[in-house]
């Protein structure tokens, strides 16, 4: 690709390293080794792609920033990742060009990887080549002459096994050496493809270089034969599908079983915190704010942090093994019937954790229309933000029947997936017509997954979730508490009368306590009803009345259009606004909520209706923002919000009215 000479960099104390490479070359592993826990995920101004940014400690250099770009096959691609990589590589008014580019290459597939190296070495930024996975190359009978390769490339070449930390010290040494040189120092000239060379010219150059530096030992093909056997099995129409079902069942079983322990711990911790705060703080607005608004609001959401981290951890492990690419082909047969290519499998799986990274991962779908269909239906998949809502509503729906609650929980997942596929098929015939494009995907080498990579991924996603919980959800919890607590109103006459009668001397302690408790509940309900939240809920409630929702449930539905998980915290705040023991479980408190007429807020019919509404509704501003960004405008974000909300409303209406007709109320 044409890369113009970069402007002279501005003097800077922070040196920047850009990590570039084909997918599956071990970039993430190297990044984690360079930066450890000192990394964050971010966007540069004006770029659409999310990068990981960290800081490395290198001898003799005060600060070194490392930017990990998503895997790319070529710089001259029209993909967002390639376009942003070009911008960062060349530098402009807003992006300082890097001081060095580290390009990861898979030593066992050197020829294909060199095609990207050929583009990078033409950029005039110093390049250090990491020849990774040399162990796999040796096992496959490929010996790479490192010295000769460095000579041909005119760049430093570091042989490496990143997964084992081998070669890391040498890389750090080489980077220190390059970064210690004055900026713009000319490197050795080499026989490189010309700037702007076409793909076939770079390919011929790569063939020539690989032919000169790679020696192939004869008779070492057992790894390839084994890979052939495994590939035949895992992509087989019957056996491959069975393996896929078992893998997915194991994934979700592990997710729910292992996450249960830390979830219980978190719930107990928040219960204790609430109890301590209630005991230490004087009765009044501050205590109510802390116990009901802050602790009560956040507890209902943060408790699901383990599930989110666990899902990303497991997906990362699976991805590392090389299986997910094969699973995409297994799914291609099924997906294609609904207008989606097999490429959509990884985004759809990722969407079970969060729709935002899933939307970004649709970039691996080469066909624009296929990608658009996938983007439009991805938010139907049950993301981790829906889990707290599902747990709450299925528990309310089947209070003492955990098996039925489990079935309803599974049904909610299936309903979301079913809606996604049916909608994709519908859009394939209407809004985004066309058949899915042909499926092509690199099948990475099978290898043991990296535990540290999976842990780093889980940590990053967990921190991202906590950031949301600590900002959006925290703020909304406080706002909801304030809206539901103010304006303060005087106790109604019946409450005053009840309290007076409770003080009668002829009553036993138990009778008096019961009357006080009844008075407190009536006072709380009256206060909520007169609050700002009560007034807002009442104003909008007629819209949701056909679905069986009262003003409290309507309030929670409205706030959850910002983010779904806010539903639980809002209900928790509304349920905790009376004289309710804060240590009582969130679900129990919500289950006992009543309407103004004293009937339960959550009947089986309203619980089922609300569950269906949450499965299908588009309730995430962040997802809409990413849809707008990924589709280049508001049109598809508006369509997504409109059709998902309409579908959710109609389906919830049908469920509620249907159950009423059937006698289930």
């Amino acid at each position: 690709m044409p890369v113009s000479p970069p402007p002279a960099p501005a003097p800077a104390t922070v040196r920047r390293i850009l990590l570039v490479g084909n997918p599956n070359t071990g970039k993430t592993t190297l990044f984690n080794r360079l930066c450890g826990a000192r990394a964050k995920t971010a966007n540069f101004p004006g770029t659409t792609v999310t990068f990981r940014i960290g800081h490395a400690k290198l001898d003799g250099l005060p600060r070194v920033q490392v930017v990990d770009l998503p895997g790319i096959y070529a710089l001259d691609s029209d993909a967002d990742e390639a376009r942003d990589a070009r911008r960062l590589l060349v530098g402009d008014a807003t992006h300082r060009r890097p001081d060095v580019v580290v390009v990861l290459v898979d030593a066992s597939a050197l020829e294909r990887n060199l095609m990207l190296v050929g583009e990078l070495t033409a950029s005039a930024v110093p390049v250090v080549v990491c020849l990774n996975m040399t162990d796999i190359a040796v096992r496959r009978g490929l010996d790479v002459d490192v010295g000769r390769l460095a000579e041909r490339l005119g760049a430093r070449v570091v042989p490496m096994i990143a997964s084992k930390g081998i070669g890391f010290a040498l890389l750090a040494h080489e980077l220190s050496a390059v970064l210690s040189q004055p900026a713009g120092s000319p490197g050795p000239r080499a026989d490189l493809p010309p700037t702007g060379a076409a793909a076939h010219e770079r390919a011929r150059w790569a063939e020539d270089v690989a032919g000169a530096v790679v020696r192939r030992r004869a008779g070492v093909d057992h790894i390839d034969r084994r890979t052939d056997h495994v590939d035949r099995l895992v992509t087989h129409p019957v056996a491959g599908t069975a393996i896929f079902v078992v893998v997915m069942a194991a994934l979700f079983w592990t997710l729910f079983e292992l996450a249960a322990v830390p979830m219980d711990l978190i719930e107990a911790t928040f219960g204790t915190l609430g109890g301590l705060a209630a005991a230490w703080l004087p009765v009044g607005a501050v205590r109510d704010l802390v116990t009901d608004g802050i602790i009560g609001g956040i507890a209902g959401t943060v408790v699901f942090l383990p599930q989110i981290m666990m899902l990303f951890f497991l997906i990362s492990l699976l991805e590392d093994t090389g299986y997910l690419a094969r699973a995409a082909f297994v799914n291609d047969r099924f997906f294609r019937r609904f207008g989606l290519p097999g490429h959509a499998f990884v985004p759809l799986l990722t969407a079970h954790a969060c729709a935002i990274p899933a939307l970004m991962s649709t970039r691996l779908i080469p066909n624009t229309r296929d990608r658009l269909r996938a983007i439009l239906v991805l938010p139907f998949m049950s993301c981790s933000a829906r889990l707290p809502v599902y747990v709450l509503l299925t528990s309310l729906l089947f209070a003492h029947r955990p098996a039925m609650a489990g079935l309803a929980f599974t049904g909610a997942f299936l309903l979301g997936a079913g809606a996604a596929f049916v909608t994709a098929a519908t859009f394939g015939r209407t809004l985004v017509p066309g058949r899915p494009g042909p499926m092509v995907l690199e099948l990475p080498t099978y290898k043991w997954p990296s535990l540290s990579n999976a842990l780093f991924t889980a940590r990053d996603q967990g921190l991202s979730f906590l950031k949301t919980a600590g900002t959006t959800i925290f703020a909304l919890s406080v706002v909801m508490w304030w809206l539901s607590a103010y304006p303060r109103s005087a106790p109604p006459a019946d409450v005053v009368a009840l309290r007076l009668s409770a003080e009668a001397p002829d009553l036993t302690a138990t009778q008096a306590e019961a009357l006080f408790s009844d008075a407190a509940a009536r006072e709380a309900r009256a206060a909520q009803s007169a609050s700002f939240a009560g007034r807002l809920g009442r104003f909008v409630q007629p819209v949701f009345a056909p679905l069986g929702y009262d003003w409290q449930l309507t309030d929670a539905i409205l706030t959850s259009f910002v983010a779904r998980e806010v539903f639980v915290s809002t209900m928790s705040v509304l349920a905790g606004s009376g004289d309710v023991d804060i240590e009582t479980g969130v679900i129990t408190r919500i289950r006992t909520m009543t309407r103004d007429d004293g009937t339960p807020v959550f009947t089986p019919a309203t619980s089922a209706s609300a569950l269906v509404f949450f499965v299908l509704a588009m309730q995430c501003l962040a997802t809409l923002a990413v849809t707008r960004r990924e589709t280049g405008g508001f049109k598809y974000a508006a369509i997504q919000l409109g059709y998902m909300s309409a579908l959710a409303y109609v389906a919830a209406l049908v469920v509620y009215q249907g159950l009423r007709v059937a006698g289930v109320t």
């Binding site: 691609s77 390919a203 494009g437 042909p438 499926m439």
Partner: protein, 87 residues
């Protein structure tokens, strides 16, 4: 449809080959974005291919990497068969 190269004589479809057959890539009758992706994955004129698996998907070894292709795409790729040997 985009042609990546000018076809010569004795060309066949990749989908016509059998497992273990080798060939050189000639061109692909696909849309522009798929053509660019194939090119970036190493499918450029005269590069050697080894067919590892037929069916759904076809698995091809190209430039020491393995690439999965749907049967339909394999039918759109035109190759020149070689006498069997390593790709």
């Amino acid at each position: 449809m985009l042609r990546l190269d000018v076809p010569g004589a004795s060309h066949v479809r990749l989908s016509d080959l059998s497992e273990g057959d080798s060939a050189t890539f000639d061109h692909a009758e696909v849309d522009a974005s798929t053509a660019r992706l194939l090119s970036a994955l190493g499918f450029t004129a005269t590069c050697r291919l080894l067919l590892c698996k037929t069916g759904e998907p076809f698995i091809v070894k190209v430039r020491d990497t393995r690439v999965g292709l749907s049967r339909a795409l394999a039918g759109a790729i035109v190759v020149t068969p070689l006498a069997n040997g390593p790709a």
